[in-house]
Symmetry: C2
Subunit: 205 residues, 2 copies
DNA sequence: GTCTATAGAAGGATAGAC
DNA sequence: GTCTATCCTTCTATAGAC
């Protein structure tokens, strides 16, 4: 009642997704109750059902929006004109690290809660993930065709690079020894090696 | 009763851990009930408590044994005499991929269910994980000191390599285009590039 | 060593008042 | 738009029979 004047449907919906994202990331989808989420939002459990038909849809929406954000953000980024000495791969590495470090909770959920999605929802998220992987694969194939990269395997290089870049989210801490910029540089350095097979082979005994 | 003659405590305990491992990996710790596990084992829910004091201990034991197996298996592997042209890093890459592909369920749990461990249990598993990371870090540092590797960053190279190697478990399928042996070779090729910074730099524009 | 039965707590989701 | 109250289900864990 007293609350009514200050409440706002749109806003509550946002707060709900934010709260669910935080809790799902921390404790896991299955371990979090609607009552817990409601407490975080500041409403009673029943009120949540004004904003989501059920818990499963809430999870799916979080993951689906996350994937859309990712694809959309890369689209915007890749349409920027590239400063001359910068390669696409550098742009991708920096983008991926920054984007994922800014959203550790959603990233965690997107990778960990796939198994809690119903079959149909799972397929939708998987398709978007594959689409993103395909973007990197294209960058790698283009670089290979232009003679700039010497790949061990195109698809597996894409998988490996995404795995190592996303892995940053598991150990990064704000108060760690490395700035985000420095981390980007180190990973770029490692990725450059990874896509330069011939060079590495020359080094072998 | 009829069952009594064929039952065996030691065996049931093993079957229990195997069943729990499979179910936790598939649905997640929090989503799996003791009743489900009991059904998989072929007993009633109450009987499980003869083999574990509670669900949490069951999870911890699975993860703890997995880490012990990993550390023990690498110890055995690394004590074997190395065939002459083989480097430690090759041995590690091949070992890590094979070990993890043989235990996808336990690996999945070890990485995904950390957040469901109580604080004290979490610390124990984390310590063992760090110990394993340290083994690779040592291999990298030795190679660097011997002039065989040119690393972008020792610790981050270890993180990156473990992340990309473990990532194989997320996409590998028995009926895929690549044999395990071929996968090992491709990842070895990529790792060789990753630890050969100087070579890669020469390639840059 | 395993079963049945159950205590006691907590879960998702809905109904109806305000 | 939110609350209170509640239905019905499911959960972990225990007690006691066999």
């Amino acid at each position: 009642m007293a609350r009514k004047s200050g409440s706002d449907g749109k806003k509550t919906a946002q707060v709900l997704r934010a709260a669910a994202t935080r809790l799902f990331a921390q404790y896991g989808y299955a371990a979090v109750s609607m009552r817990q989420i409601a407490a975080e939002v500041g409403v009673q459990a029943g009120a949540l059902y004004l904003y989501t038909p059920d818990k499963q849809t809430l999870l799916f929406q979080i993951m689906d929006r996350h994937m859309d954000d990712l694809l959309q953000a890369w689209k915007a980024e890749s349409e920027k004109p590239l400063p001359v000495p910068t390669e696409r791969i550098e742009q991708f590495v920096r983008f991926h690290i920054r984007f994922h470090l800014d959203r550790v909770d959603a990233v965690f959920i997107a990778y960990m809660e796939l198994r809690n999605l119903e079959k149909e929802n799972f397929a939708k998220i998987e398709a978007k993930r594959r689409q993103y992987e395909g973007l990197l694969e294209k960058i790698l194939a283009d670089g290979r065709d232009a003679g700039r990269f010497n790949l061990c395997d195109t698809k597996l290089s894409a998988y490996a690079i995404i795995a190592m870049l996303t892995g940053v989210t598991t150990w990064y801490r704000n108060d760690g020894r490395l700035s985000v910029d420095k981390i980007e540089e180190i990973y770029l350095c490692m990725v450059r090696g990874l896509v330069s097979r011939g060079a590495a082979l020359k080094n072998q005994s």
